[in-house]
Amino acid sequence: MKCAICSREAVENGYCELHALAYRNILKKYELWKKATGVSWKEYLSQIAKNPFTGEWAKEVAEHLVETGEEHVGT
């Protein structure tokens, strides 16, 4: 199976190794954002997608999650 974003092989949650790493970071950092600003999962994703410090792969994953409307586990 191919990665949901690039042409690499998917290894975890439908993502390749590199995008999976970004996905894990997105999940981990959401806890900080929620505590800091009380932001919703959707709002968080759109904010990090346009943040200049967000890495390229994390941006791609965030945009993909916005497009697919994937809910955050536990929200």
Binding site: L18, A22, L32, K35, T37, I48, N51, F53, G55, A58
Partner: protein
């Protein structure tokens, strides 16, 4: 012709300097044989000084051919046999052999380090007919007349065979790694795609790429987190200062609002004033790594460029031997003499005289090099007009040399703790009380001066504003050639002579691009393949271990043969694994090469349609190159711009400062690169600069 002493040097410039220094009249005669220069000097007897051209011998496989691996049998051969571009070394070796046949004494005067020792040893052994056992060694760290004469009068009785063995081991191990791994990758890609592209890796190159890939992954997968900083504007004696909230990072918006609300409209009380005086010691003398880092941060020179400049200054006898890892300056270099000579230069006069008036004791670092001291100016003044870059490096070395003899600087830090309605803010000040060595290193000193007016405990302070700043955590910085070199040094991989070249190779192979180093798709792919199929090759631990063992050969604690055998033991299964997976590796690499070639041509987003990408294209019809939008192929955008047809064009990766369009760089051989904004309506048109 009478019998003479034959001196072998590493480079032609060194030969000329040595011959002139040793000739009693200071006028060595230049002669030529088949276009190869050599010099005749008269001293106690006739001396012939002949230069090499760097390495004239190299390691090569026993069997001729480039399209096979594994290769574990090798020998040392003249470079013209092993390398296509080294034809000129044949006549060079013929001349050396001819001159050696008429000599009755032999001196190796190549640079006193691993590379120099190998160069001299190979020439004496192979080109001079086994004279390595009778040859003497000239050891010097500068090419000044005094030091060269002294080195000639006090020749070492033998070559340094331990250093030579260490050098041979290094060359042989590196060759084994480089040739086997590079051929495995290159042939895998070629066999799959039918197209040739060199995909190289090596013993140090792989682990270096590992540092870059790890950083790239951290940057590209980075997700910032919000935080806040709270600050207060405070008026003291009519001046406004900014104090920081005692908790530097505030993690929730709620907490920020509470602080702001609580401090609004309140005055502050200076609760505590802490004044600390501290001594800032002078810097240590430059070793090559420190010089390369400093030149990168001050002038933006790559480590390779700095090394080349330093080498030229050394050959001009302006600075001492640059490939040193020492931070020591022994008194034997004659501090006083150097400073006296430097005091002729108006810019250094006052500073040098000030140092000469006191006892000279350098602030040395811990690092030592058995062969050479730290880098220092010889005291000689330029005999030619130096290029701007050479002037800068020479000045940097001179000022650093003077600074190490300076007094410690005395600096003062002031920390005022201000209570605003129960919340504490910190006002910080910093100033220099006594400049000490800072004056000697003046243009290159980076100290912050933030003096504060006198504040006493209990003093009431007017708070003009308390405000917050929205912040985000930032990804780790990208490596640049300077910081990568430092990382390699810290990790103990590569040598002072090879690190800069390894970084350059990563650029040449297109594994990285840009000054702030970005790993390309190809770089990622090569690294991932290595990590997947031969993790030992990119293991920093293993590389460092091998490095340490090779160092031990130099101090007779390890044998070259053992290191070599162990290296082959590590390499054999790796190469076998690569061979068995040749097809899959070839496919992956070929795809990555194709992608990388496209990546190289991407200029940026199309400013006309906004959805396509501008790319450098070649017209089959006109055979001309131009910039076109990828949406043209979908018949959605026909944006196209002409490009110069000569020179090499590459996307700059930066947008035009005037119009914001992507830009390209055009390079012509021997000319300054031209940064071009291709927007015909850009306001920069006619101004010449973008």
């Amino acid at each position: 012709m009478e019998r003479y002493t034959l001196i072998i040097t590493e480079k032609p410039d060194a030969a000329m300097r040595i011959a002139s220094a040793l000739d009693l009249n200071g006028k060595a005669r230049k002669a030529e044989d088949n276009g190869v220069p050599y010099y005749l000097a008269v001293r106690d007897k006739l001396i012939v000084v002949v230069p090499a051209l760097g390495h004239l011998y190299t390691v090569a496989e026993d069997k001729i051919g480039r399209n096979y691996y594994p290769v574990f049998n090798f020998r040392w051969v003249p470079r013209y046999i092993a390398e296509r571009g080294a034809k000129q070394t044949r006549v060079w070796l013929e001349t050396i052999s001819k001159l050696a046949s008429r000599a009755d004494a032999y001196i190796d005067a190549c640079d006193y380090d691993i590379e120099g020792s190998i160069i001299g040893y190979c020439i004496l052994k192979y080109a001079c007919g086994g004279k390595e056992t009778v040859a003497k060694r000239m050891k010097y760290s500068t090419l000044t007349k005094e030091e060269l004469e002294k080195a000639y009068e006090n020749l070492l009785p033998n070559l340094d065979f331990a250093l030579i063995e260490a050098g041979r081991a290094r060359h042989e191990v590196d060759w084994l790694y480089g040739v086997n791994l590079t051929r495995a990758l290159t042939l895998a890609a070629k066999d799959w795609s039918g197209k040739y592209a060199t995909i190289s890796t090596g013993r140090v190159q792989g682990p270096t790429l590992k540092f870059l890939v790890a950083r790239e992954k951290a940057i590209r997968s980075f997700v910032p987190a919000p935080y806040w900083e709270v600050k207060a504007k405070i008026e003291i004696n009519g001046e406004i200062f900014e104090a920081e909230y005692e908790k530097e990072v505030i993690e929730t918006r709620k907490e920020v609002e509470e602080i702001l609300n609580s401090c609004r409209g309140k005055d502050g009380i200076a609760e505590n004033v802490e004044v600390k005086r501290f001594r800032q010691m002078p810097p240590t003398p430059f070793d090559i790594g420190a010089l390369q880092s400093e030149a990168y941060s001050l002038f933006g020179y790559t480590p390779r460029r700095t090394l080349d400049i330093a080498q030229r200054l050394y050959l001009d006898a302006l600075i001492s031997y640059p490939r040193t890892s020492s931070q020591k300056l022994p008194p034997a270099i004659n501090y006083e003499g150097i400073l006296k000579s430097l005091s002729i230069v108006p810019e250094y006069k006052g500073l040098a005289e000030e140092l000469l008036a006191k006892e000279l004791k350098p602030n040395e670092g811990k690092k030592e090099d058995p062969a050479h001291p730290a880098i220092y100016p010889t005291g000689n003044l330029p005999e030619r007009v130096l290029e701007e870059s050479e002037k800068r490096i020479w000045d940097l070395v001179v000022r650093r040399f003077m600074a190490v003899f300076g007094e410690p600087a005395i600096r003062q830090s002031v920390k005022v703790r201000i209570n605003v309605n129960g919340h504490r803010f910190i006002l910080r000040g910093r100033q220099t009380l006594r400049e000490g060595w800072l004056r000697f290193y003046e243009p290159y000193v980076r100290t912050e001066e933030r003096p504060l007016p006198q504040v006493v405990e209990g003093q009431k302070l007017r708070i003009l504003q308390v405000f917050s700043e929205d912040k985000f955590t930032k990804p780790p910085p990208r490596y640049n050639p300077g910081s990568l070199l430092r990382k390699m040094e810290e990790a103990g991989i590569g040598t002072k002579a090879t690190r800069a070249d390894i970084i350059q190779t990563l650029y040449d192979r297109k594994y990285v691009r840009d000054e702030r180093m970005v790993v390309t798709e190809l770089g990622f792919e090569v690294f991932e393949l290595l990590e997947k199929y031969c993790p030992s090759i990119v293991s920093i631990e293993l590389t460092r271990n091998l490095e340490e063992r090779m160092d031990k050969i130099q101090s007779h604690m390890e044998k070259r043969e053992n290191v070599l055998l162990d290296a082959i033991e590590i390499l054999k299964p790796v190469v076998e694994e690569l061979k068995s997976k040749e097809r899959v590796i070839g496919e992956q690499l070929s795809k990555a090469i194709r992608k990388a070639r496209v990546e190289e041509r991407i200029v940026g987003p199309c400013p006309k349609c906004g959805t396509g990408t501008l790319i450098i294209l070649y017209s089959r019809k006109t055979r001309k190159r131009f910039i076109g939008c990828t949406n043209y192929f979908k018949k959605q955008c026909n944006t196209a711009f002409p490009l110069p047809q000569k020179g090499v064009v590459r996307p700059l990766g930066k947008n035009c400062r005037k119009c914001g369009w992507p830009t390209v760089q055009v390079r012509f051989r021997g000319r300054r690169p031209w940064n071009l904004c291709f927007n015909p309506e850009c306001p920069s048109k006619g101004e010449g600069k973008i």
